[in-house]
């Protein structure tokens, strides 16, 4: 099947400037052979198909004849044309076939996202950011986009139940009322454990519950936030606070293992990217310094990056503060004392003095336009020092937002003791999963058994639910009302669909509890929320009646009212002790860095296939959390990619595969949290649970020392896409330093557009094209998830990904450049280039793929017979083949998430990016119906709409004034593989890095 082209003898011996895998880097013979192979080994292997039955040829022909006769007899009758089921009473705003958009909101921990939900005939199908939000400007986090899948999760609990079976809500109310009234009269505490409370109405409701039930102990816990950040903020500000980067004015940014570009904060990503989108050399550009252990997405976008052991970063921050104070005279805040801190590079940190001095000077000269950010996994001292640094710099590039108090792991240990000691009459767990995410989960579960009544409120029964007496199904947020405080904004969350099952919103349940305790409260949370708005948000003396005011707020999804809570003042006391702790003797040996998973976060997203299958932006792992090691450490331990090891630390042993990660600091192992769930049909047994490795009760629970790694001699097949779709080491990505950019802009290389034998394509009306700015792109994979949601892209599972059969139409290729221990990284979104002379079109035997007069490389599924010649001939490796039937077994509720404007592809069909042709056609038809030409900006594909960095611009290349036409002429512009004469419709703008040091990127 596979024809292997022999490797010619004259393969260039020079290493390519950019590389993707370590084998390529060292040019191993295996890598060369793999580069010649069209598909990943196993992609063409059909051995996982159902085994052929023992049918004889005669039997087969007999069945065939019978089937033909049956088909003929069926064909003699008119085929059922189906029924049309119209509304009995059509809601005024619904026109069947036309999408409606509703503003709503989504909460992840203390973060709030204002969203726009696209609904069709009353069912939500796609999520984007709310363009009315002044900060997010229509962008949102990839996880918010993917959370629509949870609404249609078939694992959702569909009605209340206890250990014996299903239950009526009235019975639930009765049991809860009895338990709580009993607890109240007996004066016994009741535990309520929730996630972060970001909603003022929810907070007011909980305060009412506290008043009605004085023995209530409410704790809010976010397992992924990191106790270091909490304790550090408490030490610096005396309260819990969230640091929000405001990078609009930032010139110099120093990240101490802070992954602020990981997609969670679209506002920070947009502001960061805005200062990297140069149109001419010499324009000002921000500079990102990153000191971190494992290579993070932020680190991969760094201008200057040094691998540093994360445990040393607190000392780094204190030493920086001391040098800024001593050398540049930056005043220390009152109470801060750095007398004992030595200046210069702290011991145990491998940083050249030249780089250190440059960093100190840059921070000092940028002053208020500099910002230091500290990663959530770091120790409390690092956070405290970072707050000190930003106070000294007077940084205007951040917002310190007070948040309602959160519990630390130490607090939770107190709860375990309380539960085990029979302190609580009842315990309610609402959207938290401590039986999974608490480090000593077994102790937690045993303690739970000592509580007379345990109640779980959530969507999909999890590890905590299986320990609880009552399982109460909650509404998804798309079925719920709520409001959130977001600085000076009040953000509203409104239901976009009625509850699919017999569920209740958590807040409605609290109202029921209040009613049971004898309080007089509104019938539902919607009424409660509106009443609170009328009392507290609605400005007094407004001429607009409240109903109109509330409707307008619902329409926009937010209102600006009142003032943002004041930023807490910095207190310097305690800095001397913290500095002393930070400088304690560095430990030798491997240290472990734990961090929330990109896809799973703290495990709450683990049941969402879209997120599980999205490759991690750095490691490109799907469905798994391997142990990341630096290449040097792995070589010392004689380990390679996929080797299974036993990781032991403090009595916990985990067996997991190893991945060698370029850029990882030596002596640092890292592992993502949120995997290894034991419940959920998608989540269960994917990866390993790293929460048992978290050190409860310390100031740095996510940093561990003293781990041991033992090879097992076994291997695991990695579902990792880094080596898929190789591009043969050609000139795919370009990355310039300012000097190279100046050179390129002055003396552009010759345009490689070879003459074509084919007649030129003609485009009478439109020529759709795209520009992707690699300098703005941070590689967060937001485009990929938005595309998955818009275009009904199938999830194939880890075994299929390992065979290179993932279906994403747009993928993020990560290229490394330079040394393995600290490479420069470029991320490149790769999708169908919509070539004018497309190699795929010429080889299709059935003309299933051909060119449209608008420049689109069309894919006609009903013509495709699945020869895969097109994928074979595509130099960009962007065609995806449905090797197996991924969609036919999807029934409701899963199928409800499909976009009805896009065909759901069956087995045996090729597919690829269409530039969201459904949106193009809709935009054209809308313009035509309004009697006007299509305007620039009318049509936005899902990827461009989702990109927080605005790195993707789409438009009509025939219109000389469109944004895409102007950008395509940029002096950074190039087309990938244009020397092949494919004439792509996508222009990439070269990446820019702004290195601070002589010797460019790899100064040592």
């Amino acid at each position: 099947m596979k024809t292997r082209i022999p490797v010619p003898a004259d393969v260039p011996t020079a290493l390519p400037r950019h590389w993707r895998t370590l084998e390529e880097r060292v040019e191993s013979p295996e890598a060369r052979r793999a580069a010649q192979d069209e598909f990943v080994p196993g992609a063409m292997d059909l051995s996982d198909l159902p085994a052929p039955s023992a049918l004889t040829r005669r039997g087969f022909l007999g069945l065939l004849g019978g089937a033909a006769a049956l088909a003929a007899s069926v064909a003699c009758d008119r085929k059922a044309e189906g029924t049309i089921v119209p509304y009995t009473r059509r809601p005024v705003e619904v026109i069947p076939g036309v999408a409606n958009y509703y503003a709503s909101a989504f909460q992840e921990g203390p973060r709030v996202y204002s969203l726009l939900v696209k609904t069709r005939e009353g069912r939500p199908i796609h999520i984007t950011g709310n363009d009315e939000h002044p900060g997010f400007k229509g962008k949102t986090s990839p996880r918010a986009v993917a959370d629509i899948l949870r609404l249609y999760d078939p694992d959702r609990l569909r009605g209340p139940r206890d250990r014996n079976g299903s239950l009526a809500w009235s019975e639930v109310d009765r049991q809860l009322q009895a338990a709580l009234s009993g607890a109240k009269s007996a004066g016994k505490p009741v535990l309520l454990l929730t996630g972060a409370v970001a909603s003022p109405s929810q907070q007011a409701l909980l305060a009412e519950l506290q008043a009605a039930l004085p023995t209530l102990e409410h704790r809010a816990w976010e397992p992924a936030l990191g106790d270091g950040a909490l304790i550090g903020a408490r030490a610096a500000f005396g309260q819990d606070a969230l640091v929000l980067p405001r990078l609009e004015q930032a010139k110099v940014i120093l990240s101490l293992a802070s992954d602020f570009l990981d997609g969670e904060d679209p506002q920070a990503m947009a502001a960061f990217a805005a200062h990297r989108r140069l149109s001419e050399p010499g324009q000002p550009m921000n500079r990102l310094w990153v000191l971190e252990g494992p290579l993070s997405l932020t680190g991969s976008n760094a201008d200057v990056r040094f691998p540093v052991r994360p445990s040393r970063l607190a000392a780094v921050a204190f030493a920086l503060a001391r040098d800024l104070h001593v050398r540049h005279g930056l005043p220390l805040p009152v109470g801060a004392d750095l007398g004992a801190v030595p200046g210069g590079v702290p011991p145990g940190v491998d940083l050249p003095a030249q780089a250190w001095n440059r960093l100190v000077d840059e921070l000092a000269s940028a002053g208020p336009e500099a910002l230091v950010l500290c990663g959530g996994s770091l120790a409390a001292e690092a956070h405290q020092a970072t707050h000190l640094l930003n106070t000294m710099l007077g940084s205007r590039a951040q917002e310190i937002r007070p948040v309602s108090p959160l519990a630390t792991l130490e607090d939770l240990e107190g709860l375990v003791q309380g539960m085990a000691g029979g302190r609580y009459a009842a315990a309610i767990f609402w959207d938290v999963n401590p039986a999974y995410a608490f480090p000593a989960a077994q102790a937690w579960k045993r303690a739970m058994d000592q509580v007379p009544l345990t109640v779980w409120i959530g969507l999909v029964e999890d590890e905590t639910a299986s320990q609880c007496h009552l399982h109460l199904p909650a509404n998804h947020w798309l079925e719920s009302w709520n409001d959130y405080g977001d600085g000076d904004l009040h953000v509203l969350q409104q239901p976009t669909i009625g509850p699919l099952y017999d569920t209740r919103q958590g807040e409605d349940l609290i109202l029921a509890l209040l009613r049971g305790l004898g309080s007089s409260v509104p019938a539902d949370y919607h009424t409660y929320l509106k009443a609170r708005w009328q009392r507290e948000v609605y400005p007094k003396g407004t001429p607009v009646p409240f109903e109109r005011y509330f409707e307008a707020a619902l329409h926009d999804g937010l209102v600006q009212a009142g003032k943002a809570p004041a930023a807490p003042a910095f207190r310097g006391t305690g800095s001397a002790e913290a500095a002393q702790r930070a400088f304690s003797a560095p430990q030798a040996g491997l240290e472990l860095f734990l961090h929330p998973g990109f896809a799973t976060h703290d495990g709450r997203y683990a049941n969402l296939g879209w997120l599980q299958e999205t490759p991690d932006p750095v490691t490109k792992m799907t469905w798994d959390n391997p142990l990341l090691l630096s290449v040097a450490d792995a070589q010392a331990l004689h380990l390679g990619d996929g080797d299974l090891v036993d990781l032991s630390l403090g009595g916990t042993t985990l067996r997991l595969p190893v991945v060698l990660q370029p850029g990882q600091a030596e002596g640092v192992a890292s592992l993502a949290l949120g995997y290894g769930r034991t419940t959920g049909s998608v989540a269960a047994h994917k990866g390993v649970n790293a929460f048992p490795l978290v050190a409860a009760g310390t100031a740095a629970p996510f940093l561990r020392e003293g781990l041991r790694i033992a090879a097992t001699g076994k291997q695991k097949t990695l579902s990792r896409t880094q080596a898929h779709h190789r591009l043969h080491g050609r000139d795919i990505v370009r990355s310039y330093t300012p000097a190279e950019y100046t050179q390129e802009a002055r003396h552009p290389g010759p345009d490689a557009d070879p003459a074509s034998l084919y007649p030129d394509q003609r485009f009478p009306d439109h020529k759709w094209g795209m520009v992707i700015d690699l300098s703005a792109c941070v590689g967060c994979a937001g485009c990929s998830l938005a595309c998955q949601s818009e275009n009904n892209i199938a999830v194939v599972g880890p075994e299929q990904v390992a065979r290179g059969r993932e279906m994403h139409w747009i993928r993020l290729d990560t290229y490394y450049e330079g040394p393995v221990d600290n490479p420069t990284v470029v991320h490149q979104p790769m999708l169908c280039q919509q070539c004018d002379d497309a190699p795929c079109e010429n080889v299709c035997p059935v003309n299933a793929t051909n060119h449209s007069p608008e420049g689109l490389n069309q894919m006609v599924y009903n013509r495709c017979v699945g020869t895969r010649y097109c994928a074979n001939n595509c130099p960009y490796k962007v065609r995806r083949f449905n090797y197996l039937e991924y969609t036919a077994d999807k029934t409701e509720p899963e199928s409800l998430v499909y976009n009805p404007e896009v065909t759901v592809r069956p087995r045996g069909v090729m597919e690829k990016c269409t530039f969201c042709v459904q949106r193009i056609e809709d935009g054209k038809i809308r313009a035509m119906s309004e009697g006007r030409p299509v305007k620039d900006g009318d049509i936005t594909p899902a990827c461009a709409a989702a990109c927080p960095a605005e790195a993707i611009v789409f438009g009509d290349l025939k219109d000389p004034h469109s944004r895409v036409s102007l950008l395509a002429k940029s002096n950074r512009g190039y087309k990938v593989l244009e020397e092949l004469g494919t004439r792509p419709a996508i222009t990439y703008l070269a990446d820019l890095k702004n290195p601070a040091l002589e010797g460019g990127r790899h100064a040592k």
Binding site: A72, A75, C76, R78, K79, E81, G82, T83, I84, V85, P86, Y87, T88, R89, R90, I95, P96, G97, V98, N850, S852, P853, E854, L856, Q858, V860, Y861, N862, E901, V902, T903, T914, V917, Q918, E921, I925, R926, M928, S929
Partner: protein, 187 residues
């Protein structure tokens, strides 16, 4: 009789006839528009377009209001019917049935007359907004007591008009051709 004689007198003509009959019958059964044209199923309520659109001269868009705004023209909700039939002909059995549907909230299961394959994304908007009469594809609906399909609605029908739309378009329309590329309708 010699076997050759028997073959030439009986077997050959019979065989030829059998082949001919097979070809003809298969051809007739599978002719493209055999089931498409003339399809007029019995509807749950015997609604007459002849009465409403022909005699009463109610505009098509009054009921099928999606045609200018949406991909699908839409079948009116029972509420639209009840707009008149709360007071009109309330004693007729069909209207009683309609009222029963309306009151119960159950949707009326109309039989689909015009249908397209799943991979076709036909959009009413550009056609109706270009001034193409509904009758161009749906036939003289205003003369049909029972709605009957008059067009096969196959890709040839679409392309025929897209290549030469003059007959269907109103006089003076600037439109010369309709799109003929795949993704205009398939995606």
């Amino acid at each position: 009789m010699h076997p050759f004689d028997r073959a030439s007198r009986f077997v050959l003509p019979a065989g030829g006839l059998a082949v001919l009959l097979t070809v003809l019958s298969v051809g007739w059964f599978t002719q493209p528009d055999r089931f498409a044209k003339g399809y007029a199923p019995r509807q749950p309520i015997p609604f007459s377009h002849q009465l409403h659109a022909g005699v009463m001269k109610i505009q098509c868009l009054y009921c099928h209001s999606g045609a200018t705004r949406s991909r699908s023209a839409g079948v009116p909700s029972a509420e639209v019917c009840m707009g008149c039939h709360r007071v009109t002909r309330t004693d007729s059995p069909a209207i009683r049935k309609l009222t029963a549907y309306y009151d119960s909230g159950r949707p009326i299961p109309w039989k689909r007359v015009h249908t397209l394959p799943d991979h076709v994304y036909f959009d009413h908007r550009p056609h109706v907004n270009a001034g193409i009469a509904c009758q161009t594809c749906h036939g003289p609906v205003q003369e049909m007591p029972v709605l009957t399909r008059v067009m096969g609605m196959r890709m040839g029908n679409c392309l025929g008009c897209h290549r030469d739309p003059h007959a269907a378009l109103p006089k003076g329309s600037p439109i010369k051709r309709g799109p003929e590329y795949c993704s205009a309708c398939h995606r």
